[in-house]
């Protein structure tokens, strides 16, 4: 698959800072024998090469959201426009890893650079990729989604620390048209699906670029982030959670009203699921009940850490991830203050 190698090179060029692991040629597997990583590579490739317009519906934790999507790719550049159809009006534009979200009601436009988008497909290509080690893939025939024939593959976790996925990919293009996140009992926690999709629809990249640049009348905000490391911030994970590798660590202002406080975000991923550990100084006025919460597939754990009597209030941990609550507990138990 020469295409895969080219893709990796393109992603590296776009990601910029991403480190380059040796690229192993993908196996020439038939659909029935594809590994989880092979499947994901095919899906990724499809999303990069296609131009389409569609309506996406997300159902999660009893609530629903939908949006209209325009996607265009000229082989090198990728652009996307996501127009929310539910909730507050919102337009999101993406050009490769640059993202800008317009909120017409507040007249605020938030610009971000999402380096995590450039990390792929290194996640899959890395020789120590956790995906095949922690998930098994099984083809489950085909079904129709949004009027299109789709291949169905199920990714089943090999332990209880992650969720399973069912992925429908359009037969000819490989484009993901439906995605479900499943718990250990096989119940659907969250679903993302196109209700309507026009493949190879006419989408003008010039027009999208023009719309993305047009921030007239909007207050442009940029998220201030400082790259750091967990060690520099005084944290370590004394007991790693199987499959989850540290990906990045940032320091960010904790909130507009309290710019002096900083918040550390330490990000882990097993290739499919990701976990963010948010750590900040404990504040009795703001931090109250400890506990675990769920919204669809996303779980959250809040807990007070490393309280040192007489010195300070310790720390406040908020762990967020598309993983079972037990996984977040494992992170919370393994986190240790070193300073």
């Amino acid at each position: 698959m020469a295409g895969a190698v080219m893709l990796a090179a393109t992603a590296l060029a776009q990601g910029g800072a991403a480190t380059s692991p040796p690229v192993a040629p993908a196996s020439q597997a038939t659909p029935a024998e594809r590994s989880a990583a092979d499947w994901l590579m095919r899906l990724h490739e499809a999303s990069r090469r296609r131009t389409y317009i569609g309506t996406l519906v997300v159902t999660s934790g009893g609530s629903m959201a939908s949006s209209r999507i325009w996607h265009v790719c000229d082989g090198q550049q990728q652009m996307e426009r996501v127009e929310s159809l539910s909730g507050a009006p919102r337009s999101t534009f993406r050009r490769n890893d640059e993202v800008i979200t317009f909120s017409p009601q507040t007249k605020v436009a938030v610009a971000e650079k999402r380096e995590s988008l450039g990390l792929f497909p290194n996640l899959l290509k890395a020789p120590d990729s956790a995906i095949d080690q922690f998930y098994s893939a099984r083809a489950q025939g085909s079904e129709r989604v949004a009027g299109l024939e789709a291949d169905l593959v199920q990714l089943t976790p090999k332990d209880a620390l992650r969720f399973g996925y069912r992925i429908w990919s359009e037969k000819k293009t490989g484009l993901v048209v439906k995605l479900q996140t499943l718990d250990a009992e096989g119940r659907v926690l969250e679903q993302v699906a196109f209700s309507e999709l026009q493949l190879d629809a006419p989408v003008s990249m010039d027009k999208l670029t023009q719309m993305m640049r047009n921030t007239d009348g909007y207050t442009l905000e940029k998220t201030e982030l400082v790259k750091t490391s967990a060690a520099a911030e005084g944290w370590q994970l004394k007991k790693p959670v199987p499959g989850f590798k540290p990906m990045s660590c940032y320091r960010r202002p904790a909130g507009a009203a309290r710019a002096a406080d900083t918040l550390v975000q330490w990000v882990f991923s097993d290739g499919l699921a990701s976990v963010s550990l948010f750590i900040e100084p404990f504040d009795r006025r703001r931090h109250g009940a400890e506990g675990t919460m769920a919204m669809g597939a996303t779980h959250t754990l809040v807990r007070r850490l490393a309280e040192r009597p007489g010195q300070d209030g310790g720390w406040w941990l908020t762990a967020v991830g598309e993983v079972p609550a037990a996984t977040l507990q494992a992170f919370a138990q393994g986190l240790e203050r070193r300073k």
């Binding site: 899906l43 990069r48 337009s91 703001r286 109250g288």
Partner: protein, 200 residues
Amino acid sequence: MTTHEMNERELVSALADGQLQGDDIARALALIERSEEARAYWHACHLVGDVLRAQELAADAARDAAFVARLRQRLQAEAPQPNLVTAIELVAVGADSERVEGQKNFKDPVANDASLRWKLVAGFASLAAVVAVGWQLVSQDGTAQGGAQLAQAGGEPAQVMLRDPRLDQLLAAHQQFGGTSALQMPAGFLRNATFERPAR
């Protein structure tokens, strides 16, 4: 046709094509609201699009109006349900949502497809009243105090959906920089951009 009319038609057409942003959308909607002509043109734009896509969708405008009129009649005939939203908010969390003993039943992959559909219906009904993202409490390690605001008093705290702006903020940050997943590019990014994100 005057220049003025031309501009109005172009505006409506652009709205139908999804080419407008911000103020222009508001301007176009206001126009459609006050001008019968603009409304007719709006309908014509959709009709043209529908005909291009599928023959059977090319129904005439009177049919839509008749449907709305019938729906209105039926809604007026229905008995009011004052406690609807309250009932929807109190979605009980199954005690087994934390069970982690493995993939015993994984062979039946869509065990709750039907129940998902039920939740979806509930979601529709509550959407108008409760736009906020709700968190369900899974388990309680401590006593409830401060921080989280309970959306609904009474009943077991462990069965209540709650809303916490701070959590929403962190969730947004997680989606923004924590979405390190092989699924991020095909679907994850679109999912996050679609799902209600709290204002930052």
